[in-house]
Symmetry: C2
Subunit: 249 residues, 2 copies
């Protein structure tokens, strides 16, 4: 079982969109995939079709339920979700001294090939729990100035956490998201990122594609909502690249 | 002096872009305006032209510097900024028991007509400090599904904080941001928000406009970078609407 977290302190860069759509394409390759929604906003849960979740990851982290009791199926075979609820926001204070709580929870899981963790937009206790529980991390990077400006500092922080708490976690790669082919800004950001981070940056670039932002309103991933859209093609290619790198871990 | 916070737990919805561009248009009306950057990402600081900030709001909140020592001028007359630095991330644990620390800091300020606070994408200790220190809050709402889905729950949480810690703070309004005129999704979101929140929603809608995302890479606000763009016009109109509502507070 490999555990991969999607982390970026910057908000709205495509962490959730990347987690759930990558998970969907990985699940089509007969791998059994679990998405862990570690954000109190619970966007990954609703993007995978779950509404009105009663028990979620908060209950599991607090020891009031097991992961097996809370994990839900999705419409897609081989794709499961450990959902989130709003009360997860209360966990940040409780987990600030407990960086390994999620790792312990995930160690009880059996039968999954890949676990993908969607983290909230911060580097607080929840994101740290994700880093400590992971074999690898992927950083979605929006093709915008603020997102680019923050990435170097963010990676330094991740490196510090890694060295202190989980020296084995690897930065699997950086994926450029919401790339608007019509703007110079997006091209400058991609060029800048490739020059700076070189082979760390995935070749697959996710274009800005309205189908990706419409799909969650139907509770569907892109492979079901719009399988021949530019967004679907990009996530399918990314899934292949990700598995090539995971196999080398 | 009126203090207004820009709050939304959802990431990337335009909190920083709205804070700094609204501040710029308010400062053109001979009001003395201060932007307080309460996000460790320090996007408002760099969007207002500051680089390599040594001392920021963290030092002030920890009592190691006064606000007056740390406040900086910007390129625009009447527009000032209390900048942020990355170590502000360390404040969340320290401030979790101290919801009024920022309010105390701002009470020492003199000579400002309006203070605008840019909050990070969370409802943690920093956002709570902003709510407690404010006369009013503005919620930027991206014209997307996840942002819409989360807004009702977010406002409930704000209401709870308000009743416990600062009963006087008012929800000044909701502003629809990144409205892409070409997509049905954006129109559906706007219609849905106006039906649900009625006159709370500002009439001014901020369009998606690449000039708004280019401006911060030059450290400029939109009134200086592209004063005749659709983004500039929208923030100018919003500034007028905001002041009409502030005067009635
Ligand atoms: N490639 C894309 N094209 C168009 N829209 C996109 C794309 N990727 C994401 N979106 C939309 O942009 C918004 C932000 O994406 P998303 O919510 O996945 O980011 P996030 O990093 O998870 O945000 P948060 O920091 O709040 O967790 C969402 O409304 C999403 O539907
Ligand atoms: N109306 C707009 N048109 C085009 N781009 C925009 C618009 N508003 C904001 N942006 C861009 O979208 C990105 C997100 O906006 P911004 O950083 O202001 O959101 P935020 O809510 O402050 O994010 P965070 O949650 O990380 O603090 C930025 O790169 C910004 O330049
Ligand atoms: Mg998310
Ligand atoms: Mg911001």
């Amino acid at each position: 079982m490999k555990v991969i977290s999607f982390v970026n302190q910057k908000g709205g860069v495509g962490k959730t969109t990347t987690t759930i759509n990558l998970a969907a394409y990985l699940a089509t390759t007969r791998r059994k995939v679990l998405v862990v929604d570690l954000d109190p906003q619970a966007n990954a849960s609703s993007g995978l079709g779950l509404q009105d979740v009663e028990r979620g990851i908060y209950d599991v982290l607090m020891g009031e339920a097991t992961a097996q009791e809370v994990i839900r199926e999705t419409e897609q075979k081989n794709l499961f979700v450990l959902p989130s609820t709003a009360d997860l926001a209360g966990a940040t204070v409780e987990l600030s001294e407990e960086p390994t709580r999620l790792k312990t929870v995930l160690s009880t899981l059996q039968g999954f090939d890949v676990v993908l963790i969607d983290a909230p937009p911060s580097l607080g206790a929840l994101a740290i729990n994700a880093l400590v529980a992971s074999d690898a991390i992927i950083v979605p990077l929006q093709a915008e100035y603020y997102a680019l400006e923050g990435v170097a500092g963010m990676l330094d922080t991740v490196e510090r956490i890694k060295n202190n708490l989980n020296p084995d976690v690897k930065l699997l790669g950086i994926v450029v998201t919401m790339f608007d082919t019509r703007t110079n800004l997006a091209q400058q950001v991609e060029q800048n990122v490739r020059e700076h981070f070189k082979e760390l940056v995935f070749w697959s670039v996710i274009p800005r594609n309205v189908k990706l932002s419409e799909a969650p309103s139907y509770g569907q991933t892109i492979n079901r909502y719009a399988p021949i859209s530019s967004g679907a093609g990009a996530y399918k290619r990314l899934a292949q690249e990700v598995m090539q790198r995971v196999e080398k871990l």
